[in-house]
Every structure is written in C-alpha cells, then in structure tokens.
C-alpha cells in the first residue's frame, strides 16, 4: 500500500515524494536503532548472560523437646504416724514432700518446648494409675498432673481443661491438653507438674516409675 502510494505520489507530486522519502529514512533510522539494541541484548544473553531460579523449600516441622524429662524423687518413706505422704513438683523449683522424707532436689516439672517452626497440639498420656503405681488403700493414694504455661501465652488454645492449672488424675489414654502450642521464642514452653500421694501401705515398693508420652501433632 505504501509502495502504491509512493508510485502514485511519485507521478503526481514531487514534494510529497520527498516527504515520504524522509519518512522512510526516519523509519529506517528508528528501526536500525531498535534492531541494534535488540542485537546487542541478544549477543549479551548468548555470550555471558544466564538466567536461573533459586529453588528454596522451607519445610514445616513439628519438633517438641522435653528439656527436663525426668522427675526423680529418689528414696523415701511415709513419715510415722501418717497414712500417706504427698509429693508435689512446682515448675522449676525443687519439689516438696509432705509427711514423707523424700528429697525434691531432682523433682521438678517436666518442661515441654515446641522448637519446630509451626504451632502444634500437645497430647499427654501416662501408663499407670495410682492403684497400679502404688497399690494399697485407695483413699490414701493419688497420681495427678497439672499442666500450665511456663512462658506467658505459650498455649494459645487450650484443649482438655481438666488438668489446666489444676490437679487432675493422670490419663492412660492420650488427652489433648493444648490445641495450639506456639513455636515463637519466649512463648513456646509448658510445665507438666506431678503430685504423688503415696499410701503408707503401698503394695508396690522399691523403685517405681511411669513413662509420660508427649505427642506433638498439627495444631487444631
């Protein structure tokens, strides 16, 4: 079309032809600059320019750590003439024994920390009841726990409330005590305290123990 126009204008108006010729040369100059720029880019890319991408995957991981994993009362006996002794842990303080002569030096609460990179739920269970732990008179025995925040707001959403900041009988089936245990530093630790009431007529004597299973799962 442009060529036709050139033919027509060539035969009719020489002044228009000049304008068209100038326009074509300007167009040529612009195209040349554009072309050279493109060519330069292409050369740079094919000789020393490389593209790539960084593949970074951050996995979410539930990692709980029991920083104090043993409550050890050591040896002791019920002090006469009492019918039971009460042994209670209290956070990071030494445990206290009442009506008995156990030492609470190594009896401190279990400390559970969420050291992963995601909030998690926390379920607890023991394997024994007071009866299977000690035996003896039922009214003179107890095996209880008490779960609390060691750091403020560690548990954002509580689950099973029966042992929240209060004494409750240890469960042998898993109880989800916290639905959302935070992972952020300075708000990710909880205490599990224990209270043992040892009857004077315990049928189980000598070295006794129980294992507490602590499960961290996806936050509810």
């Amino acid at each position: 079309m442009l060529l036709t126009s050139m033919k027509m204008k060539n035969s009719s108006n020489p002044q228009s032809n000049n304008v068209l010729t100038i326009f074509i040369f300007v167009f040529f100059a612009v195209s040349l600059i554009f072309f050279l720029y493109t060519l330069y880019n292409l050369t740079v890319r094919t000789t020393g320019y490389a593209t790539g991408y960084v593949n970074l995957t951050v996995n979410t991981a539930i990692t709980i750590n029991v920083t104090n994993d043993t409550v050890n009362w050591g040896p002791g006996t019920v002090t006469a003439p009492n019918t039971n002794a009460s042994l209670v842990t209290s956070g990071t303080n030494a445990g206290t024994a009442t009506r008995g002569n156990w030492s609470g030096t190594n009896a401190k609460a279990l400390v559970v920390a969420n050291i992963g990179n995601v909030n998690c739920s926390l379920a607890l269970s023991g394997t024994k009841t007071a009866a299977t732990f000690f035996g003896g008179t039922a009214a003179e025995q107890a095996y209880q726990w008490n779960v609390s925040n060691r750091e403020v707001s560690s548990c954002g959403v509580w689950g099973e409330n029966s042992m929240k900041d209060t004494w409750a009988t240890v469960n042998t089936s898993a109880a989800t005590v916290c639905n959302k245990l935070e992972y952020h530093t300075n708000m990710n630790e909880m205490h599990i305290d224990f209270k043992l009431v040892v009857p004077y007529d315990a049928t189980q004597t000598g070295a006794l123990s129980d294992v507490i299973t602590i499960s961290g799962s996806a936050a509810i």
Partner: protein, 64 residues
Amino acid sequence: MASKKVVIVVFIIAMLMFAFSVIMMFSNSNSNAANTSTSDNSVQPDVESGKISIIVNKPSHAPN
C-alpha cells in the same frame, strides 16, 4: 528511477529490522517468565517422653 528503488529497498530493510526486533522482544519476555514450583509438605507428628520415678521404702510403722 534508481533513487526510487533505493528508497524501496531501504523501506524493506527497515521493515525487516523492525519485525525482527519485535519478534526478539516477545521471545525474550517469554523466556524471562518466572519459574515457580510448589510442593506439599505434610507435617509429621513428633513423640517424646518423660519419666517420673520414685523409690518407696516400706514404712517401719503401722498407722494409728
């Protein structure tokens, strides 16, 4: 007549250069498209344990 042919040749060359530049520009923009990938990482539970232990000696008395 000769100058007219020159103008036509110049015009055709300009058109070709322009077309080449435009094509290369689009092909580069496509190769620069972001590469992204996603993966599903399910969270695995973690199980730890604690222990409570006590040594109970037989009392040397009977209750009152």
